[in-house]
């Protein structure tokens, strides 16, 4: 068997470019066809005055529509405020979250909720809780000595 390396190389290059094109097509369709974007926002806040700045002067869960809520959350050393909440199954939650101290991260294992929390910025993300059960909210960015204890529990109740 003789090898025709230039021909094989050209074929390989075509396969490579095809692979790249298919990856880009997939993330493009998901982003602009299905509107799937990671957590984002353009909403600055003074990190030294979080407690006095609405809506973070009153963190909590607010009903804004049929089974639709806004969760206003402060992530701070080493806790989430509010910490434990109960929501009905199928609830769509619009997260609004910021930090008055250092960088934190909010993630909920088993869901796509994965939000960076950066002092000076408010981050937003929307998620619908379709399964009932107990959810663990944890801090997933190192924030100090008690980082591993920074958590909250949400219960999604069967209606």
């Amino acid at each position: 068997m003789r090898l025709d390396l230039p021909r094989l190389e050209a074929l390989w290059l075509k396969i490579s470019i095809g692979t790249l094109a298919s990856f880009l097509l997939i993330i493009g369709i998901m982003a602009f066809g299905f509107h799937l974007h990671p957590a984002s926002s353009r909403y600055a806040i003074d990190p030294t005055r979080v407690n006095e700045t609405p809506p973070f002067d009153q963190p909590g869960l607010y009903a804004i529509g049929p089974n639709e809520y806004r969760a206003v959350i402060i992530a701070k050393l080493f806790t989430f405020i509010p910490s434990d909440l109960t929501i009905p199954k199928g609830a769509t939650v619009h997260f609004m979250i910021t930090s008055p101290d250092v960088i934190h991260g909010l993630s909920i294992p088993g869901t796509n909720v994965n939000i960076m929390v950066i002092p000076g910025q408010v981050n937003t993300f929307t998620y619908t809780f379709k399964r009932a059960g107990e959810y663990l909210l944890l801090c997933n960015e190192y924030c100090g000595a008690g980082h591993q204890m920074m958590m909250a529990k949400w219960t999604v109740k069967e209606e």
Binding site: L13, P38, P119, A145, H147
Partner: protein, 561 residues
């Protein structure tokens, strides 16, 4: 030329480095070995403490270990190894020695880097800099920590000047010839590095250092993070490209092959310069303050790395096959049998290449704009870069030192050393198979990275982590044993191995005769720098302007550890 261990060809030197060169190169490798040892001890303790089965004494903080591990391995071990290797190969391919001014410049860099390492060691060991190797503000370490990182990174610029000068000196003497491949690739690696470090050096010099000294009351956290990640992604290609140099240039010589092409490796490195910098936002997909479209654009640019990666896979395997066929293999895949599998200097990088397949696939997942949400800041991420950096790259660096140390000390790489070296490869790949697999699974199950052992007050999800945590910890034990055996081999090669009659040559491959010469445009560095400059301006200007102007107030410093 004679038969070496287990079928590999050992060339004895027509060329030996003069003493000043040998001292310079060895000085770099020695610091790298110390950093590797410190990082490995920290890694072992982290791995076993995260199982929850063993509790660390209260005086040893998990996050302090993690900072030590990251700084020593990601910055000190890598940078010193890379500088030593690139200087060695560039000196050899541009005439065999550096000029005294070139050498002085490299020593100047070495002194700055070493001073930086000392400052960082003090800051970390006194627990005044437990901020991890990403040092995100507004957690504030003591100022000498940031100054130390600055000195390590800026110090690494100076040997770049040595490499550029040697390359220019050679080009002047040979105006019409394509430059030696090793020197070309070193120049390309350094161009990438100089541009990449601009981001973090700016962050350190104009934000972190003045702020940590109290000259600035607050800091713009989002902007600082963005300057860090301007550097934080290309740094991984700075680690990877020297491994590619070994695959492209050094391996052909030891397997009786030829460098497959004089164009492809150069093109690969130019593509890395272009597509490694305007991509840092893919580490910040979940960040506030940055419009999604910019994240998407940088995700797209990130994916272009697929091309030089797959080109390299083709070129390296083609080179293997041609080498095997050149030694009489005719049937399909018979060439595989002709390769020197029993020589650790071949086995280690090839095992590394195999680990690069899942490593690269995982990287594509991380860069995927949507899938990233599932894995961001979970253990999946360290699982990923322990395949790419801590297996593919490290195994290649290990092979490099098995050539470099004997050729610099004039000692022999004996069959006994080779057997121990093969044991290193077995321990390392077994350990990493356990640890990295466990980390990937734990990541998908939601366990965060950079987090001390916790059961989250008995949360249900933690039950599914228990087995994998134990597997991760046992992998760390294998890896630590691997480093112990490796450093044992290194001490042997430095001090106890028998003196060689003729010094072992550091292998530099020849380009195969049929390969066409590379087009001169690939050596027009100004052009490539201008293109990458334009790409950076397009990808970064607006996000940076927004982060700097939309802020209401910076964040004051905190010590939360």
């Amino acid at each position: 030329m004679n038969r070496g261990d287990d079928g590999a060809t050992i060339h004895t030197a027509e060329h030996e480095f003069p003493l000043p060169e040998r001292r310079l190169f060895l000085a770099h490798f020695i610091i790298a070995f110390f950093a590797l040892f410190l990082g490995a001890v920290a890694g072992l303790l982290q791995g076993i403490s995260r199982t929850g089965l063993i509790v660390l004494p209260a005086a040893i903080g998990y996050y302090q270990l993690l900072t030590l591990h990251g700084i020593m391995l990601a910055y000190v071990f890598t940078t010193f190894t890379i500088v030593g290797f690139l200087l060695l190969g560039t000196a050899k391919t541009t005439g065999g020695t550096f000029t005294p001014p070139e050498r002085r410049l490299a020593w100047g860099g070495y002194v700055l880097m070493l001073a930086g390492v000392a400052l960082d060691a003090v800051a970390i060991l006194t627990n005044e800099a437990t901020v991890l190797y990403t040092f995100y503000p507004p957690m504030r370490a003591m100022p000498i920590f940031y100054i130390g990182v600055f000195l390590v990174l800026f110090g690494s610029w100076l040997p770049g000047g040595t490499i550029f000068a040697a390359y220019r000196r050679w080009k002047k003497a040979h105006p019409d010839a394509p430059s030696p491949l090793f020197a070309y690739m070193s120049v390309a690696t350094y161009i990438l590095w100089l541009i990449a470090t601009l981001g973090v050096l700016f962050e350190l010099a104009f934000m972190l250092i003045p702020w940590s000294l109290g000259w600035m009351k607050t800091i713009n956290v989002g902007a600082a993070r963005t300057f860090f990640w301007f550097f934080g992604h290309p740094v991984v290609y700075f680690w990877l490209l020297p491994a590619y140099i070994y695959w492209y240039v050094n391996i052909p010589r030891m397997i009786k092959g030829k460098i497959f092409s004089n164009l492809l490796p150069r093109l690969t490195f130019v593509l890395f310069i272009l597509y490694s910098i305007p991509v840092g936002l893919h580490h910040q997909f979940g960040d506030p303050g940055i419009e999604p479209i910019w994240k998407f654009i940088q995700a797209t640019l990130t994916f272009f790395v697929v091309i030089p990666t797959l080109l390299t896979a083709f070129a390296v395997i083609a080179m293997f096959e041609e080498a095997g066929r050149g030694q009489g293999a005719t049937r399909p895949f018979e060439w595989i049998k002709k390769l020197p599998w029993k020589d650790a200097r071949f086995l280690a990088p090839v095992v590394g290449m195999l680990f690069f397949i899942p490593g690269g696939a995982g990287g594509i997942i991380n860069a995927s704009y949507q899938l990233n949400q599932v894995v961001h800041n979970t253990l999946w991420l360290p699982g990923h870069f322990h395949l790419t950096l801590a297996t593919t790259v490290i195994l290649t660096y290990i092979a490099i030192t098995f050539w470099a140390i004997p050729s610099l000390t004039g000692r022999t790489y004996t069959p006994q050393a080779n057997r121990a070296a093969n044991l290193v490869v077995v321990l390392w790949s077994t350990g990493m198979l356990f640890m990295s697999t466990a980390m990937h699974v734990l990541g998908v199950l939601g366990e965060p990275r950079r987090t001390a052992y916790t059961d989250y007050a008995g949360a249900d999800v933690v039950e599914s982590w228990v087995f994998w945590r134990a597997l991760m910890g046992s992998g760390a034990v294998f890896l630590f044993l691997g480093i112990v055996v490796y450093l044992g081999v290194i001490v042997y090669l430095m001090m106890y191995a028998p003196q060689a009659e003729r010094v072992v040559e550091f292998p530099i491959g020849d380009v195969r005769d049929k390969a066409p010469p590379p087009p001169p445009i690939l050596e027009r560095w100004g052009l490539w720098v201008a293109i990458v400059g334009a790409l950076i301006l397009i990808a970064y200007t607006w996000p940076i302007v927004e982060l700097l102007t939309q802020t209401k107030n910076g964040a004051p410093p905190l010590r939360s550890w």
